[in-house]
């Protein structure tokens, strides 16, 4: 998992499936990424390598959104696979933040 910042956009690339087993590690990673790049205005989660996400994974995504939102910054997801996009649209997450 790595992060890249361009013009205030912080893109976090998820390099594996987001499941309960890895969420705790990821949470730590993301927290430090956000710490290191405090001056971001927009966090983009790149999902193009994510094939699967479980319940804890969903909670993690919401967690990131809340953290970013609390700082009054923006959050969106890009590169999501159809299946995941479909899931997010069923549970209406696509109404909360942008998913592409």
């Amino acid at each position: 998992m790595n992060a890249e910042k361009t013009n205030g956009q912080l893109e976090i690339v998820f390099d594996k499936n987001i499941t309960a087993a890895v969420v705790e590690d990821m949470t730590g990673n993301i927290k430090s990424m956000l710490e290191e790049n405090r001056d971001y205005s927009h966090v983009i989660a790149n999902f193009s390598k994510v094939e699967y996400i479980d319940s804890t994974g969903i909670t993690l995504v919401i967690g990131i959104y809340r953290t970013v939102k609390d700082k009054e910054k923006e959050f969106s997801i890009i590169g999501a696979k159809d299946e995941i996009k479909n899931l997010f649209s069923i549970i209406q997450l696509d109404k909360i933040f942008d998913i592409a």
Partner: protein, 999 residues
């Protein structure tokens, strides 16, 4: 720009089928289905049109398809709820696309800006109110509990009502995504897929308030609540979805809880609102990109799946194939006819010919099959027609469609669209009453129109049924006179059916006012002409106050039809067998059937009924003699009884030949005005013959059918029973050839099913094991003058085991059609041949009756030619009284074979009359006969001193002991079962001997 015409044509075909799909899908959508698959399909189709059109540079098509796609995309994503107004516009847009695709080369000149504006407006207008609602709820901080208006309330309610109507249950399910899915090791993706597969989510909200941020991800849960409809019962729900009882509740009804949103308003922050709004904009602008991806992938997948088992072939190629195959059939027929006499001369030729014969037939059948299409292709267009009409006319209409799978030849399907549309329009416009009228008549307000296709006989029937007011014949009568379609004089002679048929005369319209629905210049007369062009007929049935049925009767295919070849004035004509009911031969002086005059027209009195008669030669202008003269001078008159719709008439011809499968070729243009012909064909001998059109002949001869006759026709079946005729139980079957055979069931002991492998060949004879003994079996087609196939493909066979014959031989047959109870009327003018009694017409087919004795004699002369039974001197005369033509012919046949002279009479009275005038040596009489039965005949004979000494033998199918006693008491010497030929011949000899000895 446009590169290659061939590719373009392919695009047109493809686009047209997409447009059909879109239309069907839109109609479904309007009915309230928010089925995601349906919307996806519509979306995919329009996208595909856009894509290909773009490739060809068809800019206007692309432009229109693009805005439609955008709108549909929003619908698909649940951003805009479809409503009737939107569907209207989409349908109009679809129509516009249709016309542009239809005229693809000029499509770029079309102006689509109006449509584009409408769709853009729809897109924005629908999007604006949604944003507004979010604006109201958005200026709230925190967004702890989010609620979204997915669909507007009305739509939601309709959806739920619809679901309820179909027996769906309504549940509200609330789950913690971690507690109820994660902790149970359930995949959320799979879980929601499952939900979507068993039901439909109609509303939902997500509560993310527990998740405060990254710090408590592992400890918090996300609550997702949704309302969904499914057919699943309450008991099954937890099992099906892997959820707990406490997670769901059953709802009776559901309305959006707007209150919840209100209570949460307080905590939403204003700044996040802006972001959300922006995010929303992003979604709508990005979405066209989003959606193209799945579309492309699925479009790529589809052809891969279908390529393997089907290919596109151009119709002209199929037409050519069909034509060639038909020519091949003719060629075969000519070959067979010409080589018939030389068959035996060249070794092995017979087998080759049969092989060619079989393959040609199969080839032709298969090619015909390729042209068959389900009638659903036309039916599918009708919901749209109904929808438009019901809006325009303000009539609520339910359309029921049945039998969409029934197949017809492509050319028929194509020509069916216009007449069908017209009839449907008619049903809604004229047939169904206005809602007010329906209410006062005590009918449910929504009118019902039913479209039904089914097979009957060799034809396909399509019924268009409405439950409207029905047609008042009185009104038609008046209108007919007003419009000068008919005269007072003509009306008097018309039956009700004839009057209804007036509807389909040119210049007739029953609507009080000509609406723009029906007044399009296409009248019922055009419908009728179109149907008739297809070789079909149209019938009308109506009950005042209850509704009307229009019935189209169509042939399966236009190309090849069974026909009967007839001759008049040395010209041969082909008559379609569908219309043929029976053949009648009239001998001068025959009282039971004769030609009479009614209203100056010739009629045939047939079994008490009057049939109008037409002389073919006269109608066609071939005959120059006086008609009356023609009948009285010729000894024998041959009349074909034809039925067109419910009308029957007799057609007089000079000669009747074989039946023949003919290839129908359309009439050359310069013959079109000859209404008596429906086409032309080339016969087996290579000569051409015109195909007669019985309906045209009726019109040309201006035949009138009386009410009495139509009613009589309907009572046909009853009447024949009243005539006290003995009904025969007939088994209909087929051997390897084309002919249908019949055998009287009383001659059959049993029918066994066997496998072809069970037939063993010993020497040149075939046997099967039957009840532990070897039973000789034969294939009747090898002995009879009929067609056969050498290497039959049948995987099972049947053996008919006859009874009452001295040395039973089984008959191998391939297919059992049916058993029917009927009175057989033998055709006198007939297909004759050794082993056949004759032919008759059952269920519109020519059926050959097998003479089992003759057949067995041919098979095994040594066993059946019992010369001892023959009367060598040819000087004995037997009076045979028998009313059933079948048995009469059978019995006469073997009596003559045995060397007796036979006088045949149809009842006891006629037989008695003969006895007063002639001397005979023996009386052989049936018991059950009309006018005077056999028992009475015997009593009369025994009473008369001159006749008392006559040998009397009863021949009956009533074999009970009581019957036998009654017979003997009445004075019979012997009482024998009808069908036991050998015994009867023996008994005859005995009876003659006894009486002689007594003298």
């Amino acid at each position: 720009m446009i590169q290659n015409e061939e590719f373009i044509n392919e695009f047109v075909e493809e686009a047209q089928s997409h447009l059909e799909m879109i239309e069907a899908g839109l109609l479904k959508m309007e009915e309230g289905s928010s089925d995601i698959d349906n919307i996806n399909n519509i979306f995919r189709s329009i996208h595909s049109i856009k894509g290909t059109a773009g490739f060809f540079g068809l800019e206007k098509i692309v432009e229109l398809a693009h805005v439609m796609e955008n709108l549909l995309g929003e619908v698909r994503n649940g951003k805009i709820a479809p409503n009737s107004n939107m569907v209207d516009h989409l349908l109009t847009g679809n129509d516009q696309l249709k016309s542009m695709v239809g005229d693809v080369f000029n499509s770029n000149a079309e102006d689509v800006s109006e449509h584009v504006d409408i769709f853009s407006a729809l897109l924005n207008q629908e999007a604006i109110p949604e944003k507004q609602t979010e604006k109201i709820s958005d200026p709230m901080p925190g967004i702890d509990h989010q609620m979204f208006d997915l669909k507007d309330d009305e739509k939601l309610k309709r959806q739920i009502d619809e679901a309820r109507k179909h027996g769906h249950n309504l549940y509200k399910v609330s789950i913690g995504i971690n507690k109820d899915l994660g902790d149970q090791n359930l995949s959320p993706i799979k879980f929601f897929k499952k939900i979507q597969s068993v039901g439909e989510i109609v509303d939902s909200f997500i509560d993310i308030s527990q998740v405060k941020g990254l710090d408590n991800v592992m400890q918090s849960d996300v609550i997702f609540t949704f309302v969904f409809t499914t057919v699943l019962e309450r008991k099954l729900l937890p099992i099906a979805l892997d959820i707990q009882e406490e997670n769901f509740e059953v709802l009776e009804t559901y309305e959006k809880e707007t209150k919840t949103a209100d209570t949460e308003e307080v905590i939403v922050s204003p700044d996040s609102a802006e972001e959300d709004e922006e995010a929303d904009k992003d979604i709508s602008s990005d979405h066209s990109e989003n959606t193209t991806k799945p579309v492309e992938t699925s479009a790529k997948k589809e052809p891969v799946a279908t390529v393997e088992d089907s290919i596109r072939v151009h119709v002209t190629l199929l037409n050519d194939l069909l034509n060639l195959a038909s020519e091949m059939v003719l060629g075969r027929n000519q070959l067979l006819r010409n080589i018939e006499d030389h068959r035996k001369e060249i070794n092995g030729l017979d087998a080759i010919l049969q092989n060619i014969d079989r393959i040609t037939t199969e080839l032709q059948e298969k090619i015909m099959q390729t042209r068959m299409q389900p009638v659903g292709n036309v039916f599918n267009k009708m919901p749209r027609v109904i929808r438009d009409l019901s809006k325009k006319l303000g009539k609520e209409v339910d359309l029921d469609i049945e039998g969409s799978h029934v197949e017809l030849d492509k050319s028929i399907i194509e020509s069916l669209s216009d007449p069908l549309t017209h009839l449907i329009r008619n049903a809604v416009d004229h047939g169904l009453e206005t809602p007010n009228k329906r209410k006062s008549a005590g009918k449910p307000t929504p009118g019902k129109v039913m479209l039904k296709a089914y097979h009957e006989g060799g034809s396909v029937y399509i019924d268009i049924i409405d439950d409207g007011a029905g047609i008042d014949p009185e009104r038609i009568r008046k209108k007919g006179l007003e419009k000068n379609v008919v005269t007072e004089e003509e009306l008097k002679q018309m039956s009700e059916q004839d009057i209804l048929q007036l509807l389909m005369k040119p210049g007739f319209s029953t609507a009080e006012k000509i609406t723009d629905v029906s007044g399009r210049g296409v009248g019922m007369d055009v419908v009728k002409t179109n149907i008739e062009k297809l070789g079909g007929t149209i019938e009308i049935k109506t009950v005042l106050g209850e509704g009307t049925t229009f019935r189209m009767i169509l042939p399966l295919t236009l190309a090849i039809i069974p026909s009967l070849i007839v001759e008049v004035e040395n010209y041969k004509f082909a008559l379609p067998q569908v219309n043929l009911q029976e053949m009648v031969r009239i001998k001068a002086g025959d009282e039971s059937k004769k030609i009479e005059y009614v209203h100056n027209a010739q009629v045939l009195r047939l079994r008490g009924k009057l049939l109008p008669i037409v002389h073919l030669g006269e109608v066609l202008g071939l005959e120059h003699k006086e008609t009356g003269l023609a009948i009285s001078t010729s000894e024998i008159t041959r009349i074909l009884v034809l039925k067109v719709g419910s009308r029957r008439f007799g057609l007089v011809v000079d000669r009747i030949y074989d039946e023949e499968e003919i290839l129908v070729k359309p009439l050359p243009v310069y013959f079109k005005s000859c209404q008596c012909y429906s086409g032309v064909t080339i016969m087996g001998d290579g000569k051409t013959a015109m195909i007669l059109d019985p309906d045209g002949i009726i019109n040309k001869a201006s035949l009138r059918f009386t009410e009495e006759q139509t009613q009589q026709n309907q009572r046909d079946d009853l009447a024949s029973e009243e005539e006290m005729r003995e009904l025969q139980n007939i088994l209909l079957f087929k051997c390897s050839g084309e002919e249908t055979f019949a055998i009287d069931l009383s001659l059959v002991s049993r029918v066994e099913e066997i496998l072809p492998s069970q037939v063993e060949t010993i020497g040149n004879q075939e046997f099967i094991q039957h009840r532990g003994e070897a039973l000789r079996v034969i294939r009747p087609e090898n002995y009879l003058p009929v067609t056969k196939k050498d290497n039959s493909q049948a995987d099972k066979l049947y053996v008919i085991i006859p009874k009452l014959v001295a040395n039973p031989i089984g008959l191998i047959i391939e297919k059992i059609h049916d058993t029917v109870m009927t009175t057989i009327k033998l055709n006198k003018e007939d297909i004759k041949g050794k082993g056949l009694i004759g032919s008759t017409i059952l269920n519109n087919r020519i059926v050959l009756l097998i003479n089992i004795y003759e057949l067995f004699e041919m098979v095994s002369p040594e066993d059946y030619e019992d010369s001892a039974l023959k009367n060598q001197h040819h000087d004995l005369t037997i009076l045979l009284a028998e009313d059933t033509p079948f048995f009469a012919r059978l019995t006469k046949n073997y009596l003559e074979w045995a060397g007796y002279n036979v006088i045949l009479k149809g009842n006891g009275k006629e037989a008695l009359d003969v006895l007063y005038e002639k001397s005979v040596d023996l009386v052989l009489s049936d018991i059950q006969m009309p006018v005077m039965d056999g028992l009475e005949l015997a009593r009369q004979i025994r009473k008369n001193p001159d006749l008392a000494g006559l040998p009397l033998v009863a021949l009956t199918s009533m074999t009970g002991e009581k019957d036998r006693k009654a017979g003997m008491e009445a004075g019979f010497d012997f009482y024998e079962f009808k069908l036991d030929k050998i015994t009867i011949l023996e008994v005859l000899q005995k009876a003659i001997r006894i009486r002689r000895d007594a003298v």
